[in-house]
Amino acid sequence: MAKFILRRLGFLLLTLLLTSVIIFLITQLLPGDVARIILGREASEVALQNLRRELGLDRPLLLQYLTWLGNFLSGNWGISFSTGQAIRPFVLERLGNSLMLAELTLLIAVPLSIALGVLGALNEEKLLDNIISVVSLAVVGLPEFVTGLVLIQIFSFRLNVLPASSSIRPGTGFFEALPMLILPAITATLVLLAYIARMTRASVIEELKKPYVRTASLKGLLPRQVIWGHVLRNALLPTITVVAISFGWLISGLIVVENVFNYPGIGRLLTFAIDRRDLPLLQAITLVAVLGFALANLAADLLYAYLNPRIRFD
């Protein structure tokens, strides 16, 4: 197992290093001159040259990359072009917000979709299964801005129980923010629901066909003992991977949902950085997002291995 963890960590570092190269190169290759973006169209050639020297843009590419990476690792994420403030506290605060939303979403989405998936599998091809399939697929077909707006219409304007805007102030705690998190979390849940539920349904159906289920039934166990004690242990293994990938998406990919609800997460910061061509900010966000994805996957791999003795005792 220790060997396994070490190997996975090695892969993780390699992935991060590679993506950092890609991120760096892409931002370098983007059209437009950084110095001109900062100083504006009217700037003189001398001023541009000075700024380039100041930013180190005249040095060899490799050196620029290493400096950038070194700074990033030592916590110096640079100054935002557009706001002139240090990037790190800014991004970390938004990351905190994104994590809050992601946690609540998973808390709702995972149990709900697994339950629906298992219910569907146990009633394979019967009425309940068909209802679950049709409804969850219909919901996933709707874009987030539609479901989000419908939810706002119902819960904020008609029933007036939840706020329509989720623009929480910096430093708000989880429970304080909770009322404002619910609607965006439900919107994100609706996106994930069909995905996780169908995955769970398929793997439960697959497991139910295996001979060990017959062995368990023939011990005279109750159907729920067979499902909980025997089937789910094996059937939920693939679901773990799906949940981990969803977590990565929740941290950095909730661009539409965050914009609909005006929620200050990483997703909205990303649109902001792209709008302003704020390269250092963009680089920081992408690296953080990649790190989030990679860690979520690592956690999934480790959990998968821990729950699967065929990997644990290899």
Partner: protein
Amino acid sequence: MTTAALKISDLNVSYQQEGRWFDALRGVSLQIAPGQTYGLVGESGSGKSTLALSVIRFLSENGRVRSGKIELAGRDVMSLTDAELREFWRKCVKLVPQNPLPSLNPSLRIGRQLREAIYPPLNAAGANLKVLELLESVGMADPKRIARAYPHQLSGGMQQRVVIAMALASEPDLLILDEPTTNLDVTTEATILDLIRDLIKDRNTAVLYVSHSLGVVAQICDRVAVLYGGELVEDADVLKLYRKPLHPYTQGLLDSVPRIGQDKTKLQLRPIPGQIPGAELPSGCIFAPRCPLAIEICRSERPKLELPWAGRRVRCHRWQEIADNQADPRQPLKFVTASEVPNAEVETVLKLSEVKKRFAVQRSLSQVLRQEAAKQVRAVDGIDLSIGRGKTLGLVGESGSGKSTLARCIVGLVPRSEGDISLLDIPLARTLSARDKTVLRSLQMVLQSPDEALNPYLRVDQTLRRPLQRLAGLKRQELDQAVVNLLKAVKLSPSYAERLPGQLSGGEKQRVSIARAFASQPDLLLFDESVSALDVSVQAAIVNLLSELQQEHQSSYLFISHDLSVVSYLADEIAVMYLGVITEIGKTQDVLKPPYHPYTEALLSAIPLIDPEAAQEHIRLVGEVPSPVNLPTGCRFHTRCPRFLGKICGTTEPPWQEDESGKRINCHIPLSELKTLQKQAFNFDHEEV
């Protein structure tokens, strides 16, 4: 027999497929007394597994018991409610299925899985003790370790022991064993059969033993029923059934299995012609189309199950004549007119010298960092052998002996690590891609599973055209005729050219595979367990076919199989492999005579002979085949050898000893001593004709 534990009366079971119902069982009645072991034999499609599943009410979704009654310990199984059924499963009936690994939950420890099965329930401490007790009762040396292990950490034999222990965790009224040893090595099978025999001896449990193997049933059962096409055709005490079968199908089954010592140069095997009935049943006796004794009445009127005398039932119009020896139910005997070539003139087709194959074991990160050399699996470790023109070399050994790896090295599917292989004096390159077309043409292979070896989307003629065109170099206009000739050679009608593999039976698919291999008229053919997956009646026909084709084309065979009976019938020479090396090699009739290598002796002793009265020595191998990563020092077999001499076996590699017949044995024990020890040779003589 009113106290029968299991009583099945007039059972009819059907399956629904594509909207149509097919009968799987028709009017089957049988009884098993407490303490009785009742064998149920039949080929695939006979309905034997359906019967077992009906008894435990575990038919698949599309199966229905249409009528009939099943009573176990006085209770009507068909009328149990869901809750009663769970109780029934828990206490009254236990199943030991064919494949132990998938039958165990991969992510739960053995102990936990056993604990669940215990009945009556015990408290936690009691249950833990009981688990250890159960594991010990199935011969586990270290029950504590096993209880903590996960299924995949155990060998196949140990997994099957666990499943058996699970079945005994309650005191069931009925124990169903569904082919419990079919996928195990012959040596493991023998030890599991010993265990089963021991366990049921002192219990008053009724046992239903389902098997396709007449040998296993002969060795373990008190009474046997033969199923054919969903009908019970005969049932009797095991001795009486094997001594004097009254149904021609039973006789056919018994005759189609080669007996050790039977020789292909004298007599052909006696397969049952034709196939099992499909959805459309013949109007008379369902066996009539394949029966050598069928007369008018057999084709028009379905025979009833008759009771010739007490304790015996048979479903045949002509049983009386068979009983009185007025009609012979055996398939006609065919003598072989072999033209024996004197050995001295035989040209060598295949020659191997010092062939080795090593696989590197993947190193762990820490091993890489410490720059440790990768460990190696010495799968094949120095093989010398040769095969002459028109001869067959049989290669036997347990799984893990390296026989399949050796075959793959010869065909070039895996590159050998060392050594030379030459075909007709042409040295063979290590990989397939480096060999030229003449080599590919003259060296072909037939795989085990015809289902997987044939492309399901290619018609038979398309499968056959490829090698004819590419290897045999035939012109386009010659192809059609060549396909027809090939089909005729493997005894298939030319109309099969149009069919897809899905429309063929298992035996027919294997015939197509053989035809494909023969298309390029190879000098050498490799058969890797090529007849092992077939039903015995079909297997016999394929074995005869191989023998005939060899006579006709003078091709040489390397025939790999775990089944010593088939090998001994087909092979002129036998090589026995253990852990990558040959332990004994010689002419077939010599290998089957003492002195044997102790390993050969154990293999022979493990064969379930098709004779309940056979006096067979019980030599059992302890433990598992050691890992080829850490090979035992000295003689590789010394860790399991029943005739272990002493220290020398563990320290020094044994010498080759040759007896007067030219057979060679790799063992420390002098041949003369082996001969005295093994005086009690197997009685393989049996009357033929």
